[in-house]
């Protein structure tokens, strides 16, 4: 069961503003200010008005890369939202599993700049503990007093979904009663922007998933965290339950390092349905991977048509990346947060920036305007570079 949510994204620094903006269909994609010299990427979904000093002391910040900061902020919100606090046994014994596509790149790049550009002979001694990919899990554990299993996993843009699935598995296997899961990424660094420039999949306009005139993804940053627990555990402490994580499907394409593969996507969604004991006709909504690249949106549409057959035309499919951008591994966690709230409130967030239909993308993408509709079952799709696919099934919870 999902009983707590936390999010930090371009749509706001908490879940309440994240959801309000999603429902309003307001994209947080803006010109990068200041523009980054020597980089073609000129727009992004950057956190609004985030001041690390508002959340952490100077001493704490000396050990917190930006990606760890975001994980801690979102984690604190998730446990508070669940009605728990640091020191509660449920939190002390919980697992922390955090996905990250790129880890502590801010720290790494400051180090490399000193060495390679400034010809400095020494680097800061906290470079390793601050920048290591596992720092996000360590810092959440330290800040919240969590002593259960904790680690970071990485599967590019599916990192958050894989972390959530790992949490479900740990709970179902009886290893833990409570798991704090999600993902964090902070990719607005010079080196990463140059690298995304080079691969030529980023738009300099905006993110228009499934729209005829889409021309690529928009980078974002943030963290999404969810508190998971067994139904018995949640009920015993009188927790509110947002939704049930009813199943999951994971596959790998063994096909191509960047090109999506329809069969792999079909198989991942199919496995999620099977695991959740769902027929295709029982799914009401899919929160799509929907990056707004030509290749992803066509492949994802074809996969939905292939798996859902006639029901594909009755499904609502939307991509919230059109609003919070593609925050790499964190996106998949932010999208599960969005899907949880969609199922809980019975509101489907739209695909923003949609102008006109593409004949190769023939589904109902809920263009530009949120839709009030009961959602009994939903899927959240995440398909990473390298052909790593993860799909999470969510079910409306009724007591």
């Amino acid at each position: 069961m999902i009983t707590g949510l936390g999010s930090v994204s371009a749509l706001g620094l908490n879940v309440s503003s994240f959801w309000d903006e999603l429902v309003a269909g307001r994209p947080a994609i803006k010109p990068l200010v200041p523009a980054v010299d020597g980089v073609k990427i000129s727009v992004g979904a950057v956190l609004p008005d985030y001041q690390p000093e508002d959340y952490f002391s100077t001493d704490e910040l000396s050990l917190l890369d930006r990606f760890s900061q975001l994980a801690v902020v979102a984690s604190k919100e998730a446990i508070e939202d669940a009605g728990l606090s640091a020191g509660d046994k449920a939190i002390t014994d919980a697992a922390v599993i955090i996905g990250s596509g790129c880890g502590g790149k801010h720290t790494d790049e400051i180090t490399y700049e000193r060495l390679y550009r400034q010809n400095s002979s020494r680097v800061h001694p906290l470079t390793i503990p601050k920048g290591m990919p596992s720092a996000a899990a360590s810092m959440v554990s330290l800040h919240l007093g969590i002593t259960g299993p904790a680690f970071v996993l990485s599967s590019a843009c599916a990192s958050g979904a894989h972390a959530i699935i790992q949490g479900i598995s740990m709970i179902k296997s009886g290893l833990v009663d409570v798991a704090l899961v999600g993902a964090t990424d902070a990719p607005f660094t010079y080196g990463l922007l140059k690298s995304w420039d080079a691969i030529r999949v980023v738009s300099n306009d905006t993110c228009r998933p499934f729209s005829f005139d889409r021309d690529g993804m928009i980078l974002g940053e943030g963290a999404g965290m969810l508190l998971l627990e067994t139904e018995e555990h949640a009920k015993a402490r009188g927790a509110k339950i947002y939704a049930e994580l009813s199943g999951c499907g994971m596959t790998s394409d063994a096909h191509h390092i960047t090109r999506p593969n329809v069969s792999g996507i079909v198989k991942a969604m199919g496995k999620a349905l099977e695991h959740a004991a769902l027929n295709p006709g029982e799914v009401d909504y899919i929160n799509a991977h929907g990056t707004a690249t030509q290749a992803n949106d066509i492949a994802e549409t074809e996969a939905i048509n292939r798996l859902f057959q006639g029901h594909a035309q009755k499904l609502a499919v939307s991509s919230t990346k059109s609003m919070h951008g593609h925050a790499l591994g964190a996106s998949s966690a932010l999208e599960v947060v969005a899907t949880t709230l969609a199922v809980h409130h019975g509101i489907i967030p739209p695909t923003a920036n949609f102008t006109r239909a593409d004949e190769r993308c023939n589904l109902d993408y809920v263009p530009n305007k949120a839709r009030h509709q009961t959602i009994n079952n939903a899927l959240s799709n995440s398909f990473a570079f390298g052909g790593l696919n993860a799909v999470v099934a969510l079910k409306r919870y009724s007591t």
Binding site: D59, S62, R122, H124, P125, L126, P129
Partner: protein, 74 residues
Amino acid sequence: MLNKVAETIAKIAPCNVEDVKSETKLIDLGIDSLKAVSVLFELEEAFDIEIPNELIPSIVTVNDILQNLGDISR
């Protein structure tokens, strides 16, 4: 030199510049092993020197820093 060392220590340690006296033990200024490496880094930056690893065990007080800085600078 004490002033400059005190300012460098106070950047890292949870203390004020005026708390840093010659005879003060670093541990009493809240400098644990992790903060100690940060202090050494800041001292290297501030004085443009290289502090060898073998000197570290002998640094207990602020005065030990001052003496070693004097030796290194010479």
